[in-house]
Amino acid sequence: MRVAESLNRALHEVLAEDPSVRVLGEDVLDPYGGAFKITKGLSSRFPGRVLATPISENGIVGVAGGLALAGGKAIVEIMFSDFVALAFDQIVNFASKSVSMYGRPLRLPLIVRCPSGGGRGYGPTHSQSLQKHFIGVPGLAVYEVSPFDDHRELFGEMLARGEPCLLFEDKILYTRQLFGGGVADDLFQYDVLPGAGGVARVYVDDPEQADCVIIAPGGLAHRALAAMRTLLLEREVSCLLLVPRRLYPFDVTPLSPLLERAGAVVVAEESTAGGTWGAEVAHQVHSRLWGRLRRPVSLVHSAASVIPAAAHLERDVLVQDTAIVSAVQELLP
C-alpha cells in the first residue's frame, strides 16, 4: 500500500469510528478527493462531515478551532504546507494558546495536515518544509508522517492529545510504499523503539551495533535508507536510522543509550539551516551525552536557498542521500 492510501484509509477509519470528527479543506470533496487524494472517498461515505472550503487558510483553521472548541474534532487539509503560513496566527495565537491561557486546560482536538517538501518541481512557494517554524510552541504538537508508522494510530494519538497538532506529510512519500512486516528492504529491517512514543528504528542486524545513528523525520526516510545502503555496501559502515513520529515535544532521553553506544549522530531534515528541529535535537544530544560522543552531532539540511522549480536546480538544493553519506563519513574516524 502506498503512503497516500494508508493515510486515506486511516482517515476513513477515524471518521467511521468517531462521528464527532470533521474534515475541512480546499477541494477535498469527491470525485477529486483533495489535491493529493488523501481525502478520497470521505465525502461520499460521510456526507456533511467533509467540507470543501473557500480558499481561506487562516479562516479554515479558525473554523476548525471553533469546531474543536465546541466539542467536535477537526482535521484540516492545507493543500500545500507552504500555505499554512497564512494560518500562523490561528495556530500559534489562537488554538495553541487557548488550551492553557484561560487558566485551566481546554480540550481542542485539531489536526492541521500539511503536505510538505520538494522534489516534485512545484517551485519555491509549493515545496517548503516549514516544520521548524512551528517547533517550540507550548500547546502545539508537531508530527510528521513516516512510511514506517501506523497511520491510524498516528491520527488516534493526535486526536487524543486534545490540543492542536500539525501533521507534516512529505509529498514525496505519497507515492512510496508503506513499509510492513519489519522489513525495510533486502538489507534493512525495522521495529519500534519501545517506550519512545513511536520512534521507528531501522538497522541491519542489531540496533545496538551501529557505527553511526541517523535521526530523521519520515520525509527523509528513503534518502536515509539509500545513504545507509551506500555506506554499508561501499564503506562497510553500519547505521541505525531513528524516525520519530512526533517532532515536538521531543525528548531524546529514550534514544540516548543508542546514541551513546554509536558515539556518532547525524540529524537530517529537508529544511534550510538555521533554527531547525535538528539544532534542537542536537542540543539535547550534546547536553545529555556530553563527553560521550566522538564528534559533534552533524546536521544535514538543504542549501540556504529558495527551492527552484526546475528539477535539475531543485536537486542541487534539496537534501539528497549523498549529503547524508558525506555527513556520516565525516563523523567517523
Binding site: G62, G65, G66, L67, L69, F94, L106
Partner: protein
C-alpha cells in the same frame, strides 16, 4: 430605528436592566481609578458609553448560545454573568479570578463565553462554533462582538463568507464607535459595514438606538431567523466611546470627546430619583467589590 429622547432611556428600563448598566459603568470607572493608582497592570479597555449594547443583547441569548468577546469586553462579560468579583479578580490577579489571572482583561473563558486579544481572530472561530451548533444543537447561535476597526482584518471576510455559504447561526455585533484606538473610522474603513455585510450574503441591521427595549424588539425576530437557518446576521451599533482607548490615551479633540459624551446614555443631570438611588447603589456595590477583591491574596496558578 429612530432615536428616542436621551433622557427617556434610563427611565423606561426595568430595575434589572438599569442596575446592570450602572454596574458596568461603575465597574469601568473604578477600573480607570485603580489604574491611576497603579493597582492594575498591563492594559485594559473600558466600554464607557457602550454599556447598553451587551445589556440590550444578553436577554436575547440563551444558555446554549456562545458569546465571543474582544479587548473591550468587560461589559459583555458582566452582562452575561453579573460577576464583577470574578472579573475584577481576573484583571487584578487575585484569588477567585475567572481564569486564574492567566488571561487578564482580554483573555477570558467562562462556559460558553470566550474573549481573546487579537483583533478579528475570533470570527472564524465563532463561525466554527456556529457550524458545530448548527448540526449538533440546532437553535443555538454564536454571537461575536467586534469593533469597527476590526473590519480591517482579512479574517473577518473569510469568516463571513463561510458563514453565509454554510448558513451558519452566527451573529456579528459591531460596536461602531467611530474610532479604532486613535484612528477615525473614515480613515480605516472604505465603504460601509452594511454594504460589506450584505455583499458577503449576510443579513444586516444598522442600529442607532441606545434603548435596550427598542434594540431587543428590532433584533429578536432577526436572531430568531438566524437560529432557524437564515444564515449569518451582522448588526452594526452606532455607538460612542466616551472614555480613552485604554488609559490616558485619548487623542481626540475636546470637541470630539464632547460629541461622544453627548451621546452617553448616562444622564448628565443625574436623572430621576430612582436613577439616583440605583446609581448610588451600584457605585457603592462596586466599591465593596473592589475593596473585597483587592484584599484577597494573589491568584495561584493551577497545574
Amino acid at each position: 430605528m429612530p432615536e428616542r429622547l436621551l433622557e427617556e432611556i434610563t427611565e423606561d428600563l426595568s430595575d434589572d436592566d438599569l442596575g446592570l448598566l450602572l454596574l458596568i459603568r461603575h465597574f469601568e470607572r473604578k477600573l480607570l481609578d485603580l489604574f491611576g493608582q497603579g493597582l492594575v497592570q498591563g492594559t485594559t479597555h473600558t466600554c464607557l458609553g457602550q454599556e447598553y449594547v451587551p445589556v440590550a443583547l444578553t436577554p436575547l441569548l440563551g444558555e446554549p448560545d456562545y458569546v465571543f468577546s474582544n479587548h473591550r469586553g468587560h461589559g459583555h462579560y458582566l452582562a452575561r454573568f453579573r460577576d464583577p468579583y470574578g472579573l475584577l479578580a481576573e484583571i487584578t490577579g487575585r484569588e477567585g479570578a475567572v481564569c486564574g489571572g492567566v488571561g487578564g482583561s482580554q483573555h477570558i473563558l467562562s462556559g460558553r463565553y470566550l474573549s481573546t486579544g487579537i483583533q478579528g481572530e475570533s470570527l472564524p472561530v465563532a463561525a466554527g462554533v456556529a457550524l458545530h451548533l448548527r448540526d449538533a444543537e440546532p437553535g443555538a447561535l454564536a454571537l461575536a462582538y467586534i469593533g469597527d476597526g476590526t473590519w480591517g482584518e482579512g479574517a473577518v471576510y473569510e469568516a463571513l463568507n463561510m458563514a453565509a455559504l454554510w448558513r451558519l447561526p452566527l451573529v456579528v455585533v459591531t460596536e461602531n464607535n467611530g474610532i479604532a484606538q486613535t484612528t477615525p473610522t473614515a480613515a480605516q474603513l472604505a465603504g460601509t459595514i452594511g454594504d460589506r455585510a450584505r455583499a458577503f450574503g449576510c443579513r444586516f441591521l444598522h442600529v442607532d438606538s441606545r434603548h435596550p427595549h427598542e434594540i431587543r424588539d428590532a433584533l429578536r425576530p432577526l436572531f430568531e431567523r438566524t437560529r432557524q437557518g437564515a444564515g449569518p446576521l451582522v448588526v452594526e451599533f452606532a455607538t460612542h466611546r466616551i472614555g480613552p482607548h485604554s488609559k490616558g490615551d485619548d487623542t481626540r479633540s475636546a470637541e470630539e470627546i464632547r460629541h461622544a459624551r453627548d451621546h452617553d446614555w448616562y444622564p448628565r443631570e443625574g436623572g430621576s430619583p430612582r436613577f439616583a438611588r440605583m446609581d448610588a447603589e451600584a457605585r457603592a456595590f462596586v466599591e465593596v467589590v473592589a475593596g473585597e477583591v483587592l484584599g484577597r491574596p494573589l491568584s495561584a496558578r493551577e497545574g
